[in-house]
Amino acid sequence: TVGCAVVDSQGWCAAATSTGGLMNKMTGRIGDSPLIGAGTYACNLCAVSCTGEGEAIIRGTLARDVAALMEYKGLGLQEAVDYVINERLDEGKAGLIAVSNRGEVAYGFNTIGMFRGSATENGFMEVGIWE
């Protein structure tokens, strides 16, 4: 799976996710990536893209939950991501990336690693795999 979450200079957020799914999957299987609210979500507060075991991500409605925690509970971006990874996701199943409308980036995962990269307007840039 690959994905991208972006906030532009106007503060608008967007997310996109694309995947081939699981190796050896049954034909006709639908994963989380195309399911808005599960593997992908964006609103006026944040944008989120998920990766990992689709079935676990669907069960946890991970992407929308990040936005909901910010919207209803007033959590910050990283706080919301951490909550979803720690409280809503089965152990060892997935990860996600996110941006906020304030120009923040965040990520979280409970797999061994996650291929990821981030950059912000103030010069921060990072590419990583492991914790």
Partner: protein, 199 residues
């Protein structure tokens, strides 16, 4: 507002024995795609355009599981899926079951922009792709030698669905003949962690 920001991923669930060469290869692709996104944002591009642009680049590189290099079904075919969401007006587009569309994320974008629907799948999505004139390729374009080997290993190792790619012999710390024997002690989904490779 806090300025622009971008974050990308190339999958979760990485073999801890992934060779340094493969790690560097993946990081190079991530860095290149990040730079593409940064350049677009600096030029004032909208978030939704940047998200599509960057995911297209990631789809085109066989290092990760999407577009070229996608995971294979049990029948050895490719069924890809993608979605895009513009937070500005909560506009969405999604596609599933694609077998010939070179860049699924761009078809998802067209579903969002050019159809009255949110989600098209399988033959309907393929028909829509042709009606929109998007670039299509033979299914074999997406199937790489590496993925054929991974499917073979997945079938040999277990009949369950694999979440992540099974590493090829001598690439990611396992081999075809010892898929379930190289157990470092950690398990994922009931299988040794050593058999898992990047999604």
């Amino acid at each position: 507002m806090g300025g622009w920001a971008i974050t990308i991923h190339g999958g979760a669930g990485v073999d801890p024995n992934l060779p340094m060469e493969r790690q560097e290869q993946a990081k190079a692709v991530l860095g290149r795609c990040l730079e593409i996104g940064i350049a677009a944002l600096r030029s004032g591009a909208a978030a939704v355009d940047v998200a599509e642009l960057v995911v297209r680049e990631l789809e085109t590189d066989p290092v990760f599981n999407s577009g070229r290099g996608s995971a294979l079904t049990a029948l050895g075919t490719v069924e890809m899926e993608a979605s895009i969401m513009d937070g500005r007006h909560r506009r969405i587009g999604a596609v599933s079951g694609l077998s010939t569309v070179k860049n699924p994320v761009s078809l998802a974008r067209l579903v969002m922009d050019k159809s009255p629907h949110s989600y098209l799948a399988f033959s309907g999505a393929e028909d829509f792709a042709r009606a929109q004139g998007v670039e299509t390729v033979d299914n074999s374009y997406f199937i790489t030698e590496e993925n054929v080997g991974m499917l073979k290993l997945a079938k040999e190792a277990n009949s369950i669905l694999f979440d992540y790619r099974v590493p090829l012999e001598n690439t990611c710390g396992t081999s075809a003949g010892s898929v379930v024997t190289m157990d470092s002690g950690m398990q994922m989904n009931g299988l040794p962690i050593s058999i898992y490779a990047p999604e």
